[in-house]
Amino acid sequence: MAGQVSLFGIRHHGPGSARRLVEALDALKPVAVLIEGPADASELLPMLADPDMTTPVALLTYAEDNPANASFFPFADYSPEYQAARWAVRHGATLRFIDLPASDRLGATAGDIAEEIAARAEADPVSHDPIGALATAAGYDDGESWWSDVIEENPATGPIFTAVADAMTALRADEKSLSAREAAREAHMRIEIAKTAKECDGAVAVVCGAWHVPALAERRSLAADRELLKGRPKTKIKATWAPWTAPRLARASGYGAGVVAPGWCAHVWDTRDGNRAAEWLAKVTRVLRDRGHFVSTASVIEARRLGTALAALRDRPAPGFAELREAAIACLCNGERAVWDDISAELLIGAGVGAIPASTPLAPLLDDLQRQQKATRLKPEALDRALTLDLRSESGLMRSTLLHRLNALDVPWGRLTDVGRSRGTFRENWQLRWEPEFAVRLVENLLYGSTIAEAASGRLIETMGKEAELGPLASLVRNAMIADLARATEFGIAALEMKAALTSDGPSLLAALPPMADILRYGEARTGTVEHLAVLMPRIVVQAALALPYAARNLDGPAAAKLRSALLAADAAIQLAKIEADIVAGWRDALGALLNDDQATRLIAGTAARLLYEAEFLTADHAADLLTRVLSPGTPVAEAAGFFEGFFEGAGQRLIHDAALRAAVDAWLMTLDEEAFTASLPLFRRVFSALDRTERRRLMDALSARSTGAAKGYGLTAGANEIWPAHQARVLELLTSGAAR
C-alpha cells in the first residue's frame, strides 16, 4: 500500500504555522517530508541540521555559466520549511524538495522571471501571501496576529491545517487561469508527491505554501501533468548555502516573499502565547533605554494595559503587533512616532547574521573570479608584478574594473601605485600580488552577493550607509563609479543628495566638491553614467555658496586655515567641472559678499578676494582699491595682516607683475610702525619665502624702481642706440684678443 499523503499549508516565514507544523509532524510521524523548494537542490537539505549552521541562511542556486543569474531561498529559525527539514533529519525521515528544479527557473532568461514576478505581485498579491492578504482584509497590520487570533483561536474543532486548506479552497474557488509557470510548478509537485507516496510505506508530509494546498490535493492524471512540464527551459546549475542577514529577510529589502518585521516573527517564535505581549514590551523598553530614553517599569505596565484595552476595542482576543505598537508609542515614546521609527529598525528588523558550515560546496564568488581572470587574462601570481592599463581600450577597462571591484571587497590583489595623482585620467598603474588568504576573504563576501560585481555593490552600499561625512561619502561614490558599480553609485549619489540637503555646514559641503569634480571628469574616461552627479554638483555649489557667509564668520586661526584650503580646493573643483554659468556666478557672488561682510574672518575674505581677482572678476584697479581700503591705517593691524595673508599666501608673484597691487601693498607697509611691523614679520616671511631668489630680486628691483618700464622689470636705457655699437665693439675686442693669446 502506498503512503498516506498529508498536506500542510503554511505561511512562508510564519512562526505561528511553524509551531503548529512541528506539533502536527510530531503527531503524524511521517516517514517522508516533502518541502516546496527546487528539487535539484534536495541533497543540500540535510545540511540544515548541521550544528554549525546558524540561521538566517539562504539556499543559493545559480547558473553555472553566469552566477549573476541566481536565486536565493532564505530560511529563518521560524520558517516552517526549516523546522520541517530539521524534524525530518532528527527523525530520520526521507527529506526532499519537490518544486520545479532550479535549472528550470534559471534557464528562463532573467528578464522573463523578473517580469513575471513583478506582474504576479501586482496582479495577484493574494497568491503570494494569502494569509497576509486575508489578515489585511480583516484590518490587521500583521499576518501573524491574524493567524493567532483567527486560525489558532478558531472555535471549530479539527486540526488547524484543515481550516487553512478550507480557507484556501474558498479563496481559489473563483480563480482565473494560472500562469504557465505556476501550473508547471503545481504539476511538478503533484508528480513528486505521487512518486514519493508510491515509494514509501507510511505517512508522507507535504509542506508547501498554503496557496498551493487545494491544487496539490486535487486528483489529476499524471499524463496531463507530465504534458505541462514538457519543453520547460533547462540550464546547468550549482547550489550551495549562503549566510543571510535578518535585514534581508525583511520585505523592505526588496525580498518579495519577505516578512514585514523579522524581529517580531523571531519574537513570536521564541515566546509562548501567555507572556508574549509583556516580553515584547520589555524588549521595546530595553531598546529605548539603550538609546538613552527614560522608561519606567510603571509605564510598561500601562502600555500592557493600553494594549489590552485597544485589543478589546477592536474585538480581538489578545493584543497583537499593531496594538502593542500603538500602546508603546503612547506610553513609552511619549506619543512621538519619530522615537518609534528610530528604534523600529533595530527592534523589527534586527541585525542577525547567519553562518554556514565549512563543508559547504564551493562559493560562487571564487567561480566568478576564476572566470573573470580567464576573460581578462590576468593570472593570480604570488609575486609583485607591475601592470599599466590604458582605460581607453576595452581590455584595459575590464581589468581595471575587476581590480577596483576586488579592492572594494577588501581583496587588494592590485594596488594603484599612483593614487591621488590626477595627471592622466585614462592611465592606471597597478602593482599586482595574489595572497592565498584573499580566497578566504572573498568567500566572506558571499553575504553581499553571488558575483563579484554584486558583492562589491552590496558591500559599498553598506559602507556608504554608515558614512556620516559628506567628503568621505563622495570619495566612496567615486570608488563605486570607478569600479563600474551602477547600483552602488546610484545609492551613493542618493545618499550624497540626502546628506547634502541636511547639512548646512559650509566646510563639509566644500569638502564634497573636489571628489565630485573628479568623478565628473573621470566619468568621461569610463562609460558610467554621471548625469545624476551633474545635477547634484551644481546644487551643492549653490548650497555651499549660501552657507559660505555663515561658515566664514568668527573663526579662530586653525579653523580659518582649514576653511581656506577647503575654499581653494572647492574653487578649483568648480572651475574644473563644467557647471552652468549662472551657478558659477552665484558662487562668485558669495565670494564677493565675503569682501563686504565685516563679520567674515579676514583670512577668508582675503582668500575670496584673491580667487575673484584670479578669475578676473575683480579688476586690478578694484583689487588695488580694495587692498588700499582694507590695509588702510583705520583697520587693526591683525585684521589687515589676516587679509593680506589670505590674498597673497602662495601667490606672491602677483606683486612682481602688478604695479597697482604692489603700490597698494607698499603704501600699507610704509604706514606700519616698528612694533606692528615686527609683529607681522613672520607673516611676511611666509608670503615672500614662496618666491625664489630671482623672483625676490625682481620684486626688490621693481620696488626700488630701478626699472620702471612696462616690460616686466626690464626697461630700455635712455640713449641705448648710441651706446650699443660702442659696447659691441668693446666686447668683440675682448673676445678676439683672448683668442689670439
Binding site: 527614560f294 509605564s299 478589546a312 508609542i329 512616532r337 540626502m498 549653490v542 552665484g586
Partner: protein, 358 residues
C-alpha cells in the same frame, strides 16, 4: 436658532449622540457610550439605528482608537501636536461623547494658580463662618471628580510647572486632599482628564517626568496628503472670508495649492516628488498657518490690491509664517528658493517676491 455664537459639542451634535446611544451597549463605568461608539462618533460612520454620523476628525483612526482606549483604562490622556492640528476639537468631542459634558474646562495660562486647579474660597463665607465645605468654591476639576465626568485642560504646558504638579496626586490616587478641612474629595467612577499641549512652541513649561508618566500621549499629526490639506484649507478659507466679509478672489484654489505645496515641502523636509531633501524651518507650518496666510493675503488683496490675489501679496504673509528665527530660517528659506523654487514652473512669482523679501 440659538443666540449663542457657538454651542458646545454635546448640544450641536445631540441628535448623533442620541442615535449612537441606542442599542446594546457595554460601557465602562461612568461612560455614556461604548468605546466603539465613541470612535464612530469621532471618525464618522453609521449608528446602530442607521443614523449617519458626520466625521469630526479627519485622519488616522488608530490615533483616535488609542485615545479612547486610554480613557477606558482610566489613564489620563495628553493630546500633543503643533498648533492647528485639532487637539482641542478632539478633546471637546471626546468629552462630549464619553460623558455628555464638554464644558468642564480649565484654560491654562502662565497666570493659572493652584486655586484655579484645586479649589478656591468664598472669602465672605470663610470670614463669617470659618472654613467649611460651604465656603469652598469648586473648580471644574473638583466638580468633574465629584460627578465622575471628564475634565479638560487646555494648553497644559502653559501653566507653571509647580502648578502642573498639583495634578500628580489627582491622577495617581484619584483623590484631592483638602487639608484645611481635614478631608478629601474622592473621584467618582468615570472621572478622567484630557489635556492638550503644544509640542513645538516657545514659552511653555516642560511637563515634569513624574507628571508625564501619568499621561498616555497621543500626537496628532498634520494632514497626510496634499489633497486632504488643500481641501481643508479651501473650505476653511471660504468660511472665514465669508465671516470677515471679504470677497474671495477667483484664483484662491490655485494659490492654495501652491502655498500648500511650499508649506508641505518645507515642513516635511523633502520635495513632493521625494527627489530632493530639504531643511525645515524652526516653525511648525501647520495647516492653520496656511489658512492664516491665505486670509491675510486675501484681505491685503481686497483692501490694497483691487481684489487681485497675487504671489506678491501672499509672499509677504508667507515670510511671517516661515521665518520665525531671523538667522536660521532665512538661511533655510534661501536655500529652498535657490535649489527648488527657482526652477519650478508656476512659482516664478513666489520665487521673485520671496527672494526680494529675505
Amino acid at each position: 436658532m440659538s443666540e449663542k455664537l457657538r454651542l458646545p459639542a454635546e448640544e450641536s451634535y445631540a441628535a448623533e449622540l442620541k442615535a449612537l446611544a441606542t442599542g446594546d451597549q457595554h460601557c465602562p463605568p461612568g461612560w455614556a457610550l461604548a468605546p466603539r461608539q465613541v470612535v464612530t462618533y469621532l471618525m464618522g460612520g453609521k449608528a446602530n439605528d442607521g443614523t449617519p454620523i458626520t466625521p469630526k476628525y479627519v485622519g488616522d483612526k488608530r490615533l483616535i482608537e488609542t485615545a479612547v482606549a486610554t480613557l477606558a483604562t482610566d489613564r489620563a490622556l495628553l493630546l500633543l501636536g503643533v498648533p492647528g492640528t485639532a487637539k482641542s476639537w478632539v478633546s471637546e468631542h471626546l468629552a462630549a461623547a464619553i460623558t455628555g459634558d464638554s464644558t468642564l474646562v480649565i484654560q491654562c495660562t502662565a497666570g493659572t494658580d493652584e486655586n484655579q486647579i484645586r479649589y478656591g474660597w468664598n472669602y465672605a463665607q470663610l470670614l463669617a463662618h470659618g472654613p467649611s465645605r460651604e465656603a469652598l468654591v469648586p473648580t471644574p476639576l473638583m466638580r468633574a471628580m465629584e460627578s465622575g465626568k471628564l475634565c479638560r485642560f487646555e494648553e497644559l504646558t502653559r501653566m507653571g510647572s509647580d502648578v502642573q504638579d498639583t495634578l500628580i496626586t489627582v491622577l495617581s490616587e484619584k483623590m484631592m486632599p483638602i487639608p484645611e478641612l481635614n478631608t478629601a474629595v474622592y473621584a467618582q467612577r468615570g472621572f478622567n482628564i484630557i489635556a492638550t499641549a503644544n509640542n513645538r512652541d516657545k514659552g511653555v513649561n516642560e511637563l515634569s517626568s513624574a507628571l508625564k508618566r501619568r499621561f498616555n500621549v497621543v500626537v496628532l499629526p498634520l494632514p497626510d496628503s496634499t489633497e486632504e490639506e488643500v481641501a481643508i484649507i479651501v473650505k476653511r478659507v471660504g468660511e472665514m472670508a465669508q465671516t470677515l466679509d471679504l470677497p474671495a478672489p477667483k484664483n484662491v484654489a490655485d494659490e492654495v495649492a501652491r502655498v500648500v505645496s511650499i508649506f508641505r515641502e518645507l515642513r516635511s523636509g523633502s520635495t513632493e516628488d521625494g527627489k530632493v531633501a530639504l531643511k525645515s524651518p524652526s516653525g511648525g507650518l501647520s495647516t492653520a498657518e496656511a489658512i492664516a496666510v491665505m486670509i491675510g493675503g486675501i484681505s491685503q488683496a481686497t483692501f490694497f490690491n483691487d481684489g487681485k490675489l497675487t504671489p506678491e501679496t501672499l509672499a509677504s504673509n508667507m515670510i511671517g509664517a516661515v521665518v520665525k528665527d531671523p538667522v536660521q530660517d532665512t538661511a533655510v528659506l534661501g536655500e529652498y528658493l535657490e535649489t527648488v523654487l527657482k526652477k519650478r514652473r508656476g512659482f516664478e512669482g513666489y520665487y521673485a517676491s520671496l527672494t526680494d523679501l529675505i
